[in-house]
Symmetry: C2
Subunit: 100 residues, 2 copies
Amino acid sequence: MAERLSADARKQALSGIPGWAELGGREAIGKTFVFKDFNEAFGFMTRAALVAEKMDHHPEWRNVYKTVEVVLATHDAGGVTARDIELAKAMNAIAKLTPT
Amino acid sequence: MAERLSADARKQALSGIPGWAELGGREAIGKTFVFKDFNEAFGFMTRAALVAEKMDHHPEWRNVYKTVEVVLATHDAGGVTARDIELAKAMNAIAKLTPT
């Protein structure tokens, strides 16, 4: 099982994934992605969903038209783990290819 | 443009779409769908996204693993319109085909 990252390790990991930040009141990381329109936003979600399913590690996310708010945490570990960082990196890579 | 439904018209329309209810504090309707797993939940979202895009009328929705919380409202009309009822019906029809 992936181990919960310490506050220092979280901070260091976050420095490598632009746009992601720690959530207030909860050990989790989040980012709001904004795209060109619903087509691009849902396209991003679909590609991210395939990655998440393959990792067997799923996001909490909310979509309103061209916006996708994502929260990542590892429930079993009670915090943020390397799996969240990995998924966050993958989402950034997908978003880079998606028109905004 | 679709016209905002009156409270009576909303109530009557809701009686025909099981599981949908008016939201507190906001003129909108909502339903929480629960499926078997992420695959089924995201499959539902994908089919619903295609319908929404075709209608050019999009949901606000949140997905956590096998759960999809949907809120529908027509922003331009400042409330619930026939388009929301139509999308809600389509979502119920899609969910019926999706294992829970």
